[in-house]
């Protein structure tokens, strides 16, 4: 147990999540998809961390493993001083009220047969969060916070538009009085004007209740707007992490640079310095050797093909995994190792 409260609500250390690939008649495990392969970051209380990267890079798996909706393969998740993976069933149940989740598609996560008041109140009752005689007022209050009206209580999910449904999901999460909310593409399916409403709502609630968010999105402009810090993932690994302003003004990792250069800018005369990445993401079941980005990187060096780069604090608070930022000594050391390995291999083969 933590004696004093850390400044960080959530710390993720070298998290790994591999999925087995089954094959053959007897469904033997024939390989592994390294969906998350050594991811580390931490989030300060009351702040938002954005997590970006192309589809399939492991963003949602990170989120789900943190909430222990998936079991980890390796690593640690420390929530408010406690290791999430060492909790008993009972403790985990309690923890679940403190860590909530909102999804991209609110409809599929709302039971079609329950009225809104039940959808929002179900878990509140189950966990005895408010006395029975205050229950109704409590639900009304939460709904109002989320921009829903009292007369919506007896309605069913299908009677609502996409934006309203997302408000219902937010209300359901908020009703449990959580400290942390994982937002997995919460506005991606919504129209621009509705997106703005939901983003503003999430920000208001954060200010009011001191919430901490992990905000997963492939929409970089939304992430820049809402986040205090940003992590960039590629093929299961975190490649860069920093404060939002720093990373957008001055990205370090070649993948981040290419990713940001692809953002369309609403200005017809904007001169793009676009780096068009060739090809598509390699399969996480069979990632490239060395730096996983080396097959698409403009700056790839010989070293990159063989040795995976360190996760290093290149500038204060700005982390990056790329050989371009190695110190001269570290470079010399790695190159020597690489040569030795190559020599050893030649010997073995001979």
């Amino acid at each position: 147990m933590a004696n004093e409260k850390s400044e960080y609500l959530l710390e993720v250390k070298n998290l790994k999540k591999y999925f087995p690939i089954k094959g053959g008649l007897l469904s033997h495990t024939v390989g592994q998809v390294k969906a998350v392969d050594g991811v580390s970051f931490r989030i300060k209380r009351g702040t938002t961390m954005g997590l970006v990267g192309e589809s399939g890079c492991g963003k949602s798996t990170v989120g789900r493993t943190i909430l222990r909706l998936l079991e980890k393969t390796d690593g640690e998740v420390i929530f408010d001083g406690e290791d999430v993976f060492s909790l008993t069933r009972q403790e985990l149940r309690k923890m679940r009220t403190r860590m909530q989740i909102i999804f991209q598609d609110p409809y599929s996560s709302l039971s079609p047969r329950l009225p809104i008041s039940e959808i929002i109140g179900e878990a509140v009752r189950e966990h005895n969060l408010v006395p029975a005689n205050e229950f109704d007022d409590y639900i009304t209050k939460i709904m109002k916070e989320c921009g829903l009206q009292e007369y919506h209580k007896d309605r069913y999910p299908h009677e609502f538009s996409g934006g309203q449904r997302q408000r219902i999901c937010i209300a359901r999460a908020l009703a449990l009085n959580p400290e942390f909310i994982l937002c997995d593409e919460p506005v991606s399916a919504l129209d621009v004007s509705i997106q703005a409403q939901i983003i503003n709502l999430l920000r208001d609630l954060q200010k009011q209740f001191g919430l901490t968010y992990l905000f997963i999105s492939h929409d970089l402009s939304v992430v820049e707007h809402i986040s205090d810090t940003v992590g960039v993932m590629y093929l299961g690994s975190m490649v860069e992490f920093s404060e939002t302003e720093k990373i957008f003004d001055h990205p370090l990792h070649p993948y981040t640079v290419a990713l940001f250069s692809a953002i369309p800018i609403p200005d017809p005369n904007y001169k793009m310095k676009r780096i068009v990445l060739q090809g598509s993401i390699p399969s996480p079941a069979n990632p490239p050797s060395g730096c996983k980005f080396h097959t698409r990187c403009e700056k790839c060096m010989e070293l990159c093909k063989h040795v995976s780069p360190d996760w290093a604090e290149v500038e204060p608070g700005h982390f990056c995994a790329c050989h371009l930022y190695n110190s001269a000594e570290r470079n010399a050391q790695l190159e020597a190792e690489m040569k030795q390995n190559a020599a050893a291999q030649v010997k073995q083969a001979g």
Binding site: E54, S55, Y151, H152, R155, E159, F160, S161, Q164, D191, V192, S193, I194, Q195, A196, Q197, I199, N200, R203, H218, L220, S221, V222, E224, H225, F248, A258, L259, F260, S261, A262, I263, P264, I265, P266, D267, P268, N269, Y270, M272, R274, V276, L277, S280
Partner: protein
């Protein structure tokens, strides 16, 4: 949607509506299915021969059991030869229905063009596609106008190999009487043209073996198979990651420069529009509220809806404390008001706005807007 004043229809009322609808749509369908329609019935003249397509006062309605949906309610704009026109607006505003009206691929019998013309430039002559019979349209689709959809899997058949599917499109419109071997050659050419390096390999693959970006390239190759003069791209990159989106946008730009085709580019993403479009049309609730060159719309947005839309979307590198959010929601499409459709959400209302739907005002050589705030500047209007 879940408004207090939602009108719930009784079963009886709904039956009455569907009976009426059937009467109306039967009339349209009868006309459409006639054989040997003389060309003179759909022959027309372009107002400007430099235009490839002219939408003129298009009205496309859906006759549904809950009432008549005015999906497109008086839409007028031009698509010049070799230019890209971006159509923006939020879901349900009628972007897709506008383009499906040009293709005559509306869901029948509910969906019908009830008024207006769509003039299509065929070089030596022009047709009004809203009056053209099915067999003529069949030739136009693919040969003159073709379409790329948001979800490439809807355009691809999962059980056929890529090569067979492109080959089939070529056979269907086989005006050049290609032999089997020539069809294969042309298919490989098309795959290479859309940037697929391993064309022989992809030729033999099934759709599920390809990534989303590769599938969209295949769909683009199919759309280009018969050298169309107009390409409709309906949210072609919405389902893709930004890096893949960048590749596809690049590809479309290159192809357009090479073939001088016109593109109607439909999207809700203002950034993509700015990158692709020469001209922009902004739609709201089935009507065009503003149109002009890309510069007009992005540097001098005039309609309160356009302005609101631009302020709702965060832009990388531009910090704002709070995003603007347009209050309220789109009016019920079955029951449109008789005043400005945007009035109930508009924060720039002036006194005149309670009058009838505002006419289109020309505020510069290329820039048009439907809003009372510009009535003083009215230069003849339209």
């Amino acid at each position: 949607m879940a408004d207090k004043n939602d009108s719930y229809l009784s079963a009886r009322e709904s039956r009455r509506i569907s009976r009426e609808n059937r009467k109306i749509t039967n009339e349209f369908e009868k006309k459409r299915k006639r054989k040997n329609v003389p060309e003179s019935e759909y022959l027309t003249k372009m107002h400007d021969p430099d235009n490839m397509v002219e939408f003129d006062n298009l009205h496309t309605y859906f006759f549904t059991d809950t009432g008549v949906v005015h999906s497109v309610d008086g839409v007028t704009f031009e698509v010049p030869v070799g230019k890209t026109v971006g159509v923006v607006g939020e879901s349900g505003c009628g972007k897709s229905v506008t383009s499906l009206s040009l293709m005559q691929l509306l869901q029948r019998p509910q969906g019908q063009v009830v008024d207006g013309e769509i003039r299509l430039n065929l070089g030596d002559k022009a047709y009004d596609v809203t009056k053209a019979p099915n067999d003529v349209m069949q030739h136009i689709r693919g040969n003159v106008v073709s379409m790329i959809f948001q979800e490439p899997m809807t355009a691809l058949n999962p059980v056929f190999r890529i090569g067979e599917q492109i080959g089939e499109v070529l056979q269907l419109h086989n005006t050049e009487n290609r032999s089997e071997e020539e069809v294969k050659q042309r298919t490989l050419e098309l795959l290479e043209m859309v940037g697929i390096a391993n064309s022989e390999g992809v030729f033999r693959m099934y759709p599920h073996e390809l990534s989303g970006g590769m599938r969209q390239r295949v769909v683009i190759a199919m759309a280009l198979a018969c050298n169309p003069r107009v390409i409709i791209a309906d949210e072609p990159t919405t389902a893709l990651d930004v890096t893949i989106q960048a590749q596809i946008l690049d590809l479309l730009r290159q192809l357009k420069d090479k073939t001088n085709a016109s593109i109607i580019f439909i999207t809700h993403d203002l950034g993509v529009i700015a990158e692709m479009a020469d001209f922009v049309v902004v739609m709201y609730a089935g009507r065009i509220v503003e149109k002009g060159t890309a510069e007009d719309i992005f540097y001098h947005p005039a309609h309160p809806y356009t302005i609101g839309l631009m302020n709702s979307k965060p832009v990388v590198g531009k910090k704002v404390e709070e995003l603007y959010s347009i209050p309220g929601k789109v009016p019920n499409p079955v029951n449109m008001p008789d005043y400005c459709y945007f009035r109930d959400r508009c924060e720039m209302c002036v006194e005149k706005c309670s009058g009838k739907y505002p006419e289109t005002v020309q505020i510069s050589g290329t820039h048009f807007v439907s809003c009372y705030r510009y009535y003083e500047q009215k230069q003849g209007g339209k």
